[in-house]
């Protein structure tokens, strides 16, 4: 891939991650009052780790194969009913996630703008 078109795959994967995480966090909020429910989350470090492992095995399509997977959060402390969802924390994670998503879309946008001006032949 050339310098102009490179990076789209990374941004694409980042948006895969942010949408998977938004889904997990929305699920948590939906189950906030279910006794015994354990919150789920998508771990960014785990995604990076799976990509790294694939790439070390020499897989050229490692990035496309790395999938953000929701997993039960075993660290979060559970409240009285055994439910480990905390409203404020879920909300804040959603905020963080939205910011990351914005960053990815911003990256794609600026890349596209660069391409567009290259096509038009203007600065």
């Amino acid at each position: 891939m050339s310098d102009l078109t490179g990076g789209f795959d990374v941004a694409n994967k980042l948006m895969d991650f942010t949408s998977a995480r938004a889904r997990a966090l929305a699920t948590n909020i939906a189950h906030a009052s279910e006794p015994g429910y354990k919150r789920v989350d998508v771990d960014f470090a785990a995604l990076v780790e799976s990509f790294r492992a694939e790439r070390e095995r020499g897989d050229a399509g490692a990035l496309a194969k790395a999938r953000p997977a929701p997993a039960i959060d075993r660290v979060a402390a559970a409240g009285r009913s055994g439910n480990s969802v905390d409203f404020e924390r879920e909300q804040v994670q959603l905020d963080k996630n939205a910011l990351l998503h914005e960053l990815a879309t911003f990256f794609v946008n600026s890349k596209l703008n660069t391409l567009r001006s290259a096509i038009r032949g203007q600065a």
Binding site: D73, F87, E88, R89, E102, F106
Partner: protein, 144 residues
């Protein structure tokens, strides 16, 4: 892999919001139970209190922080020892032979003052969080 500081700010504010919510819930419980003369253990209701503790870096490293960030705050609930008030109410089912009833060690004025404090602190944390979010959004806009 740990998160950048700019993202940890979110978790720290969230832990404080959550702690203040716990405090408000406990205050509500105290007010609601202020007249309970006989609980599950046969004793009058005992006032509950929330204590705040900082989450230490070491707890996070050992995985003992329960998902809370270093520098965040944890709220623990405990029973407050203290003498029950004795009120003379003749004919009350829980009265002793001298017509005295033991009432919970809850002081409504204390609870209401605490409630205002908890509510204000919640708002303060919320506004810290919002400000930080806006700052980061501005940073993204800066390069646009």
């Amino acid at each position: 892999m740990s998160e950048p500081v700019s993202m940890q700010v979110f978790d720290i504010s969230a832990s404080a919001l959550s702690a203040e919510r716990t405090r408000l819930a406990v205050i509500s419980q105290n007010i609601a139970n202020a007249q309970v003369t006989k609980g599950a253990d046969g004793e009058p209701y005992r006032r509950q209190r929330v204590t705040f503790r900082s989450v230490l870096e070491e707890e996070v490293r050992r995985g003992r922080a329960g998902g809370l960030p270093a520098g965040g705050v944890r709220a623990d609930v405990e029973s407050v020892p203290g003498d029950f008030q004795h009120v003379k109410i003749p004919g009350h089912p829980d009265a002793d032979k001298d017509d005295f009833v033991r009432m919970p060690n809850v002081n409504l004025v204390d609870e209401l003052v605490d409630m205002v404090d908890a509510s204000r602190t919640y708002e303060a944390n919320l506004s810290a969080l919002r400000t930080w979010k806006q700052m980061l959004a501005r940073t993204l806009e800066m390069t646009r």
